[in-house]
Homo-oligomer: 340 residues x 2
Amino acid sequence: MAVGMKEVAAHAGVSVATVSNVLNHPELVAAGTRQRVQRSIDALGYVRNESARQLRAGRSRFIGLLMLDIGNPFFTDVALAAEAEAEAAGYAVVLCDSRHDVRREHRYLELLEEQRVGGILVSPVDGSGGLLRKIRRRGTPIVLVDRVSRSLGECCVAVDDIMGGDLAVSHLLARGHRRLAFVGGPFETRQVQDRYDGAVAALARAGHSRDSLTVIVTPLLTLDAGGRAGEQIAALPRTKRPTAVFCANDLLALGLLQEMTRRGIRVPQDLAIVGYDDIGFAAAAAVPLSSVRQPRAELGSMAARLVVEEARSPSQHRHRHVVFKPELVVRASSNSGVPC
Amino acid sequence: MAVGMKEVAAHAGVSVATVSNVLNHPELVAAGTRQRVQRSIDALGYVRNESARQLRAGRSRFIGLLMLDIGNPFFTDVALAAEAEAEAAGYAVVLCDSRHDVRREHRYLELLEEQRVGGILVSPVDGSGGLLRKIRRRGTPIVLVDRVSRSLGECCVAVDDIMGGDLAVSHLLARGHRRLAFVGGPFETRQVQDRYDGAVAALARAGHSRDSLTVIVTPLLTLDAGGRAGEQIAALPRTKRPTAVFCANDLLALGLLQEMTRRGIRVPQDLAIVGYDDIGFAAAAAVPLSSVRQPRAELGSMAARLVVEEARSPSQHRHRHVVFKPELVVRASSNSGVPC
DNA sequence: GCAGATGCCTGAAACGTTTCAATAGCTGGT
DNA sequence: ACCAGCTATTGAAACGTTTCAGGCATCTGC
């Protein structure tokens, strides 16, 4: 049933070494022999056994890509860009979804290490440093995605989320808003905390007290959670209600936007909204959503480039910390002044 | 550097066979020995080499999942459900994106076969039957996703898209609409063609001529393409303009919805819209989108279940064709009668 | 005291490659 | 004749597991 090089070699009347050479170093084989072997390969339907190659080589031609939530278009886009970059370098990508769960993350990390992948790109769940360090030390290159590492023990690729939060809130303040809200959570997630910190920094710099920022904590960064946050905001008495909301990501913002529309609260006239990530759906919303754009594609491809570089020449590789700057994209959802 | 079983065995003073048994059949090893070996494993930081295991076993513990477009939430959801199901069966998933490109699809199929994956779940690009059949015959189980196979040579899991198209248009007709449009493309994509056929069938059954359906062909099934289709519709003279549109998927519908909103054409009063897939963003749109729901999660998990079943016992496996029924979800975007 | 059973452990083969040193057959220069 | 330097090919070892047929003690029942 299973045809291996042995069968091909017998069929073509050569040794297995020659078959191997035809596949990997054709220039070493005489043209006639090469053709004969090739014909045997086709005739028998021979397919390489990559497990055996990997065993010999010591490493697989896979890159592990372990993301927090592939359902979120932000991560999907990062993954697609990383995949394109890795493919160009001859690597395939194993895509894993930790779903913000440390246990799932650990299982996948073990799986990837056992597979002897060439490297791992990971947007880590908080507090999973230990295992990552171990894997690193045992020789598998690791690049942190969307998270800066304290030490210089590994590469990381991230976006300055503090700056992003600052941009969003500065914009709202400039538009004259004084009663603001921050919607996001859980705060254990580093991205959420940073975006909040940036918001507070902007407030402080403009000389406003922290009281002017209502914080609405969500359990997740999803459409649903955004809708529920909307209910809370709508429930506030008119005079207490914020005139502008900064959401920790676009899913929240879109959920919030819908809830407001449903209740007849006009965006941006009654409530301005700024999201984060600038996913494709943000621009395509009925009221196009202002958002802090992260360079998703650059994030993914840079991460892949770094891990491939380290996988190829571990010795001469210097770790790098790449931090991209976010960029505010103003659209209709925040493009108005304060309601009278 | 690399610690294998040999090193562990030496360190613990046992044979490699015993180390292997500790890992795979601990009940065969005396408690004392077991602990000693375990300690050596921890001390040396031994990590299994899955390539070697696979070589021995002949198959990997991976399932290949090759989708048309992971950027589309429909496929993301299918993939996530498949992954959950596969994981429960002890398989990990390699996620690949063919991007509707036959060449990419072929490269990935070869890659997966060379890896000796346990099975492949594929939503095929049209006209790629040959390679799939070859792979099947060489012994890798294949399940077609979102596509029915003519023969009974393999399992497939799909949704009745003709019925889906029928549901959508019947609903619009029942609401009194007489000038309809179908937005979608390319028609080479089987899903698009089927949904269109369903639409036409509904029209015919209700005794309306095919002329009452304007067809707007899009190059892709994306948000952008939906927006451009919207421009075309808006450009039609009022008396020719359809009062209701059925889009071949939700991305088109959402793009269209935005373009209409931007132009002040009210949905559903001036134009009713029905999408297809019922992705999460459909319900969360500013005007919640009516849509034909496909059981995405069931699709994914059923596909995974079938492939795992065949991988586990190829001999006693009977191929199955599972076709789910779609379901119309009526929301605000089509919940009104004809404009006067 | 002995046959058989039981429990624990091991040596060696096998999985399908790649690679390296070795070989064999040339050509052409001396 | 012989050597040097090619080109084309090959045998065998190695990669790290799993598995299977024993082997050697120690026990059980007689």
